[in-house]
Symmetry: C2
Subunit: 225 residues, 2 copies
């Protein structure tokens, strides 16, 4: 690599690190929210008959007990969370050895400019931790959902469609390699052009009531199997 | 009233209206979040055997099913919500005629500089709507919680301690007038100086796990009675 290219790589690495830290540093509202949720989860046990939904704001916002009419689903989504954030609080879930975990994580890492190889390194490390800590749990890896830029809301996701597609391909490969169920959410949520259907969101990233209906209907057979 | 005083009142009214609109206008993240939650609640029925927790972010953040180990509690908290916001979505709750409603709302109105008389006018109107729409529901009016300025986080609540105290006095009077149960949350949450106990929060407004434990332990007898 030429010296000028190296310098560009260094600068880009610095910018990425800075952006990540700035977005998720202590004393930001996002971190404080994460910290409060983790402190609440700390005293809420998980049992072997439970189904855990684990992820970020998309999971956080879902009333899964009501959507599936199943009292044994536990919501462990935290708004703004990233792959390493889930890894940090993983023991709260795995120590209860739940029957199933539905994992949906990574879009906030994408918006923080993490590259595909690094996304997959973090993701595989998280999956390995889950398997090591609770091998008896049936794990479901869900694809990152499509987004829709026409809402002009999440500019940090602009131009990242290929990253998302490549990331999902990698998640699928991790699942196949380890004999885990991969669930492609796109058939339930995407329009003909690979965008999150307009009627399923109001900001191009998060799900409306119709979006939660479509997602939970799509994965229902895995939840109930 | 002197002309100069009137002018000040007009200017203050304008500032308050502007601040309220700016904080809760469509196309802000807070409004989009409210709108998505409302669209999800729209398809989630409430039943006569249910207990509904109705309010803003403090309710939104609580895992009440797990905290009380009761599957029939429905969380109808929406982050950033105000008294009139709850009024707007009230029918989603009242049409199911739940057994109980635990109402906790108003701190975001306080932070938007609503005066005590207006706070109480909005609050009483909301209570009247609940009673009119579902007279068979047992309604519990919870005091607004204490806050703690030492975290230096919510500057829009600075200097509002007296407003909060007066607002709570008014809520209690509304409850007594209408024969509703009033629950003063301060004995469970406040320190000797009337601040939200440090160990119950990480930002001076929202509850940590320990805060949710203290709140739910405090109101447990009403939830189970």
């Amino acid at each position: 690599m030429k010296r000028s290219s190296k310098r560009i790589v260094h600068i880009l690495t610095f910018i990425t690190l800075f952006a990540t830290l700035a977005t998720f540093a202590p004393h930001t509202k996002a971190y404080e929210y994460w910290d409060r949720k983790v402190s609440q989860f700390d005293s809420l046990p998980v049992y072997p008959e439970d189904i855990v939904f684990l992820g970020n704001s998309i999971t956080d916002g879902g009333h899964f007990n009501e959507l599936f009419e199943m009292p044994n689903i536990r919501n462990r989504g935290i708004s703004s969370d990233v792959i390493n954030g889930v890894a940090k609080r993983l023991k709260q879930v795995t120590k209860g050895h739940p029957g199933k975990i539905f994992l949906l994580i990574g879009i906030n890492d994408v918006s923080q400019n993490v590259t595909v190889p690094n996304l997959l390194k973090r993701y595989e490390s998280l999956v390995d931790s889950i398997i090591a800590q609770t091998p008896e749990t049936k794990l479901y890896l869900q694809s990152v959902m499509p987004v829709n830029h026409s809402f002009k809301r999440y500019k940090t996701l602009y131009g990242k469609d290929k990253v998302i597609t490549e990331f999902n391909k990698g998640i699928k490969e991790i699942a196949e390699k380890k004999g885990i169920t991969y669930i492609d959410l796109w058939p339930f949520l995407a329009d003909g052009e690979g965008r999150l259907k307009k009627e399923y969101t109001n900001d191009g990233l998060h799900l409306s009531g119709a979006g939660y209906k479509a997602w939970t209907k799509g994965i229902e057979k895995y939840v109930r199997e």
